[in-house]
Amino acid sequence: MGQIRTIDLVKVLLRSFYIQSTWNAERLLGLGFCFCLIPIARRLFSDKHALVDFLQRHLDFFNSHPYMATYALGAIANIEEQAITKNWEDKRPISVFKTRVIGPLGAIGDTLFWQLIRPALGLIAVVLLYFIGIGGTVIYFILYNFFHLGVRINGLFDSYSKGFDIVRDLSLRGTQKYFDILKYICASFLGAELVIIMSKIVHETSSWKGLFVFALAAMVSYLLVRRRKITIDLLIVIIVCSSIIIGMII
């Protein structure tokens, strides 16, 4: 048995990019989670029986936002190491810990990335593509991955140093105020970008028709999506067909 080294954590980090490869309805990220922890298993266990126990334990049900999963991976590396050095007989706390972090990791990751960062940067990218072309793509890619890789790397090393205590940092209630601030910022961005897009449309079409269709489509889509009455492909079909008809009439 050896101590976990930084190189092992780096290997876990690299593997974490493929944690979602075998997503399935039975154990969700179970296989991916076990796959990510193989460098830790290699370092910690020499006894085959303990190794089999370790692999079975981590093949079990697990779910998380893919970027946030490193928080669980780092903490589990720490806890498994503790279990060996302190000679734990009962390994159930490890499984309990995993079950406990599933909710917060999913909720924080989904809100932070899928509901805030990705759409906000998507909006910025659209405006940048309009004005500076392919440079907008590069800026989007760098900005997004700055946040993405930051969370992955920080998650792994921070949670490895904290072990069980990482649970305190992963409280949804604690992070909610930051999400609210981000929402205010995103709403302001949206307000400013609406003006930029609208001025670009007026400039492009030299008439108010394009602006009228844009504004109408934005309002109708906002109302329909907010009330969850429509799928996005159906929304696109309706908006495109209506826009063509409006274009023929006016």
Binding site: N24, V52, Q56, A187, T231, I239
Partner: protein, 234 residues
């Protein structure tokens, strides 16, 4: 570029996009703002790639993969739409506006099919997890690694196959449809571009706008409009 290498290359990009969308890395090369301009650059139509990226980025962003929910495969649809728009433009089938809108409408069907295929792939992944149980009982690291990578391969094949079939079918189906639309409709199809952009903005707004945040949108918007109007006047 010859037709066969072209179709292989676009299918390979489809495979990479499928992997990045939900299975591996997720560095967002799959997002239309990245994938479409890259396809445009590769196939010699950068401006068309940028336009498709702008139009297709926003609407799909509200398909949030929370829990196990998986929406339409919009990113794969965007790849097919861009490749077909470039193909139709190079063949000079119609005006750019008409080509873009017809390609996008066709790509919606591809996205829907892709979504169903993802569900089948996830069922296939169940077999992998049961094989992994056997591998764990034998403490076989290499097999567990291999099984996880097979999941990634499934995803790649799904994207590659869908884009291959979608693009090939599109090449057969879309030229007669595109040439059928009269060029006089160019202005109407041009307006549909703005409709599509508006629908994306409206959809994304649902993620940010609440009772608490609405003033944070209204104030910058009003100030911006005021500046714009003053700019127009003076």
């Amino acid at each position: 570029m010859d037709f066969f290498p072209e179709i292989l290359l676009i299918s390979f990009i489809g495979g990479m996009v499928a992997v990045d969308t939900a299975s591996g890395r997720q560095v967002m090369i799959s997002q239309p703002v990245v994938a479409c301009p890259i396809i445009g650059l590769i196939f010699g139509e950068p401006q068309l790639g940028l336009l498709l990226g702008i139009l297709l980025e926003l609407p799909w962003l509200i398909n949030i993969p929370m829990g196990g929910v998986h929406g339409s495969a919009g990113n794969l649809g965007a790849v097919v739409a861009t490749a077909l728009a470039i193909f139709l433009k190079k063949k000079d089938m119609n005006t750019e506006n008409i080509i873009v809108i017809i390609s996008i409408m066709y790509s919606l069907a591809i996205s829907r099919v892709g979504s169903n295929l993802v569900e089948y792939m996830r069922k296939a992944n169940l077999t992998l997890i049961h094989l992994a149980d056997d591998a764990a009982n034998q403490a076989d690291f290499k097999r567990i690694t291999r099984l996880n990578m097979i999941g990634l391969f499934y995803s790649f094949i799904l994207g590659l196959g869908l884009v291959f079939v979608g693009y090939s079918l599109g090449i057969l189906i879309l030229p007669p449809i595109t040439t059928f639309v009269h060029k006089d409709f160019d202005l109407a199809f041009g307006l549909a571009k703005y409709g599509l952009l508006g629908s994306g903005v409206g959809a994304v707004a649902t993620l940010f706008i609440t009772k608490k945040t609405k003033w944070y949108l209204i104030i910058p918007f009003s100030v911006g409009v005021l500046i714009f109007v003053l700019f127009l006047i003076f």
